[in-house]
């Protein structure tokens, strides 16, 4: 064993420096907040110390991975070491690696682990709600569980598709060998992982009572666990905006010859629409959280009504981020859907321009609707008709996506593979999610449904039914390309059917329960809702069980069975399937030239006998 390697930039060094940094920050916070800024000794909690501990710990961790080396060496005028270019062996998955395919795999496993944590919390919530009054977790812990579930899922799933699949496939789809900013790409992943760990430490600091929305001034009353939430979401925001920036820069600058805007695969368009939102919305979140942090430490009063601030300010700022955020969650799912349907319907994408318009339209409109979260809050009551209209207008571009999906199925030759089943389920779930959204957009209906389990079930239909189903569609579709091994189809189908049925059996009744008067995040509920809640809890446990089927199948197929799939198991005509599985380190021997529509199904050259895309390979451009 080469012990010298242990001393270099690696995960072990990162952990050591991260923990050392944490305690250095903690110590610093106590030095500095004592004499100069008074924290309230009576509270026995020092938020300044915890913020500094997290931040110095983060810097230590990232330095240990080697993120500081490149900028420092450039500043000193030395040639930077290119250690991070190391591209062989399993070790590269555990360190700073700038290969976009390695980052994609890191994201898939890393995010998957945190989604497991979020899902475990969902199970605990449903366990608690088996009884209307009796408590398994006390009221404190219940709120922490609810907050951890929501925050973890919202934070991690924002990058749920862009992280693994756009990082891996977007450069390939546009004919590039890498992302525009490979180090930033790696940074987005590691930031997210550190953030996830920070959020979980909240349990040790008393948790946080605010749910994922973190409303002021409740967030100011909260225990130190609130600081974990603040740092988590700020880091997620940073990761999101950098991810979005990188995606946009890559698509704008790195397209291969012939890859005109009108030839981009639809998935790339959905990534663009999402990235614009990420780049612009996340900074609002970060600055809002900075204000919360100042309220909690430096005693500012941004959100304190009695000190001249306003809780409305927090709500406005949060939802200016928060509403684009939910479309950051929804749009990539639409991209996956429209990317998968042509392959398994053996048809070109129907209404390509309409689909692109739909995605960009959603992206634009999502900025104009945030006050529908505040319909009964008493703010700007005279603007409610406008927000009602703008919210309902979103159903137009969403309708474009639906009609394009339906048109693609028209006269297709549909093969019901596992990814296709998940894609079709997306259509069903998102339909219900969208229709239930109309009730929430309509002010008189919203009076009852607002803040109830109805709205909770609505966004689970769009986020879980939309995003998570498309996430699984993408896994079943693309993981064989990423690893070279098939995922067992029989267990894939068992997973699909249990998940689809259990999902609808969970959230369908929740729509009704919400309409019947059950508020969100309440640890008790009225006795007449007991039967419904019991049904929902049991369904939710089946839903959790279906996830275990997936994990088992995934591990079995990828670790033990290892059936090689070959280059193109789905007979797709997209570019990524023309490369070997897994994709070689430099993607292409020669940079391809693109000559036509990305979905050349049924085009002239004899029905279906050709699986080759319209790609004309040309000599590689001279490297700089």
């Amino acid at each position: 064993m080469n012990f010298r390697r242990l001393l270099g930039y690696n995960l072990l060094t990162a952990f050591v420096l991260g923990i050392v940094g944490f305690y250095v920050g903690w110590w610093l916070g106590h030095q500095f907040s004592g004499p100069s800024i008074a924290y309230f000794a009576d509270t026995g909690q020092n938020d300044i110390a915890l913020f500094l501990a997290y931040l110095v710990g983060l810097i230590g961790f990232l330095s240990g991975l080697g993120f500081a080396s490149y900028p420092i060496q450039r500043l000193l005028g030395k040639p930077p070491s290119l250690r991070e270019k190391e591209t062989a062996g399993t070790g590269r998955y555990f360190t700073l690696c700038t290969d976009h395919k390695v980052v994609g795999m890191q994201y898939l496993i890393g995010i998957g682990a945190f989604i497991f944590v979020g899902g475990l919390n969902a199970m605990l919530i449903r366990f608690e709600l088996l009884s209307p009054t009796k408590q398994t977790f006390n009221a404190n812990n219940y709120l922490t569980i609810v907050g951890l579930h929501g925050t973890m899922m919202m934070g991690m799933m924002t990058s749920g598709i862009l992280g693994p699949f756009a990082n891996y496939f977007l450069p390939i789809m546009i004919g590039a060998r890498r992302m525009a900013f490979p180090r930033i790409e790696a940074l987005t992943f590691w930031l997210l992982m550190v953030a996830g760990v920070i959020l979980m430490t909240t349990v040790g600091y008393g948790g946080f009572p605010t749910g994922w929305t973190g409303y002021a001034p409740l967030n100011d009353q909260a225990n130190m666990g609130m600081d974990s939430y603040i740092v988590f979401f700020a880091l997620v925001g940073l990761s999101m905006s950098l991810l979005g920036l990188n995606m946009i820069a890559t698509v704008v600058t790195m397209r291969a010859p012939g890859m005109a805007w009108g030839r981009l695969p639809i998935f790339v368009w959905s990534v663009i629409a999402t990235s614009v939102l990420m780049l612009l919305a996340a900074p609002v979140l970060i600055s809002t959280l900075l204000m919360v942090a100042l309220d909690r430490t430096a005693q500012t009063g941004f959100f304190n009504a009695q000190a001249g601030g306003s809780p409305y300010l927090y709500q406005n700022l949060f939802w200016i981020f928060g509403h684009p955020e939910v479309y950051i969650l929804a749009l990539p799912g639409m991209g996956i859907l429209l990317e998968i349907l042509p392959v398994f319907a053996r048809k070109p994408l129907w209404g390509y321009r309409l689909a692109v318009t739909g995605m960009l339209g959603i992206s634009l409109l999502s900025w104009l609707v945030w006050q529908h979260h505040l319909f009964v809050s008493g703010i700007n009551a005279d603007l409610r008709p406008f927000y009602m209209l703008s919210t309902e207008l979103i159903s137009l571009p969403t309708g474009f996506i639906f009609i394009c999906a339906l048109g693609t199925l028209w006269q297709g030759r549909i093969r019901f593979t596992v990814p296709m089943l998940f894609a079709l389920a997306w259509l069903f779930n998102f339909l219900i999610g969208g229709l239930s959204g109309v009730f929430l957009s309509d002010v008189p209906s919203d009076v009852t449904t607002h803040g109830s389990f109805f709205s909770m079930a609505h966004f689970h239909y769009t986020i879980m039914g939309g995003l998570l189903f498309s996430f699984f569609a993408a896994i079943y579709f693309w993981v064989p390309k990423m690893t070279g091994y098939a995922i067992n189809e029989r267990f894939g189908k068992i997973h699909f059917w249990t998940m689809f049925i259990a999902f609808n059996s969970t959230f369908g009744p929740l729509l009704v329960i919400g309409f019947l008067g059950m508020p969100r995040r309440a640890v008790t509920y009225a006795g007449y809702l007991h039967g419904g809640n019991t049904w929902v809890s049991i369904s939710a446990f089946f839903l959790g069980g279906s996830m275990l089927v997936f994990v088992g199948n995934f591990v079995w197929s990828q670790v033990f069975a290892r059936v090689p799939v070959g280059a193109n198991p789905w007979a797709s005509k997209s570019i990524e399937w023309q490369l070997p599985s897994p994709v070689p380190v430099h993607n292409f021997d020669r940079i391809p030239t693109f000559g036509a529509d990305p979905y050349p199904y049924g085009d002239g050259d004899g029905a279906g006998d050709s699986t080759a895309p319209r790609v004309v390979t040309a000599p590689a451009r001279p490297r700089p």
Binding site: A139, N140, P209, T213, Y215, P217, L218, N304, A305, Q306, A307, S310, Y312, A345, R346, K347, W350, G351, Y352, V376, S377, G378, N380, A381, D382, P385, M388, E392, G399, I403, L406, G407, L409, W410, Q411, G412, I414, R415, L424, F428, L431, V438, F439, D442, V443, P444, S445, V447, T448, G451, F515, L516, G517, P519, R520, T524, A526, Y601, G602, G608
Partner: protein, 277 residues
């Protein structure tokens, strides 16, 4: 000709499906939609919910019929050799038709929702300090004070008496003034169809007129901390005579504390204003 056949069958399925579902929605589901018919605001919400369902029905039936049909008719036969479908990349008339129909539905819903909002005096929703949808004629103001973790109520026309219980007279236009002393709460009187956020320093007005007597649930609908899940209560709608008796009793019972209460105001700014201690 085959194409005509598919489209014709999907259209037929949609029409037949809508014809079956629509009467069920209008006559069975609609009248039984929550939150019921106990107040004017609740009734208009039920009305609104029914209209939304009616507009949604044909779209839902069309999409589901299309999906079911496509899954059945466009599937590749088992063991069929891999073949491509026809290279159809769009169909301008259907795209335009879809755009026109969905736009018409959306505009109708927005206009209808706005009209219903004004016709129902805000449908029981919180409208802030200067409500634009409000009733003409006399109102009975009732203040709802959210605090961690209980709602209390004040009746300014009855000497500003504060009570721990909410009792309302039937058939009188109530004007709720909802405010909070600390964090954000939300006053949700489920059967009355009333929901208004309680924000500190804000007077959030909501209107309702109960048309039937009976009990109703009060719930906090905005996460407000530890006992959010326990911030519930039962309110009562009673007839005028019972209301007068009740309010007289409350005024008598709470005489001792009356001298300590602040003058009635739409918002309050109690101490400590920032941090205690």
């Amino acid at each position: 000709m085959r194409l005509q056949g598919h489209a014709g069958r999907i259209a037929a399925l949609t029409v037949v499906g809508t014809a079956i579902v629509l009467p069920l929605v209008i006559f069975v589901l609609g009248p039984n939609m929550p939150p019921g018919h106990r107040t004017t605001g609740a009734s208009s919400q039920v009305n609104d919910n029914t209209v939304l369902l009616v507009v949604m029905t044909p779209f839902t039936v069309f999409i589901l019929a299309y999906l079911a049909y496509a899954i059945f008719a466009f599937r590749a036969a088992a063991g069929e050799e891999l073949r491509d479908g026809p290279p159809i990349r769009g169909h301008m008339p259907s795209q335009i038709a879809w755009l026109v129909v969905t736009s018409a539905a959306v505009l109708f819903l927005a206009i209808f929702g706005t009209a219903e909002l004004f016709a129902s005096n805000g449908a029981g929703g919180g409208e802030g300090p200067k409500p634009i949808a409000k009733p003409s004629g006399p109102v009975l103001p009732v203040q709802v004070i959210g605090q961690q973790w209980e709602f209390t109520f004040r009746y300014p026309t009855y000497g500003g008496v504060e009570t721990a219980e909410l009792v309302l007279p039937v058939n009188r236009q109530i004007e709720f003034h909802v405010t909070s002393l600390d964090v954000i709460h939300s006053f949700w009187a489920y059967e009355l169809g009333v929901k208004a956020d309680a924000n500190p320093g804000v007077d959030n007005v909501a209107y309702v007129k109960a048309t039937k007597t009976g009990d109703f649930q009060i719930r906090c609908a905005e996460l407000c901390g530890l006992w959010h899940g326990y911030m519930f209560d039962t309110g009562h709608v009673v007839d005028a005579a019972q209301f007068d008796t009740w309010i007289a009793g409350e005024r008598k019972q709470f005489t001792p504390v009356e001298k300590y209460l602040p003058r009635y105001s739409v918002t309050y700014s109690p101490d400590p204003q920032v941090r205690a201690g």
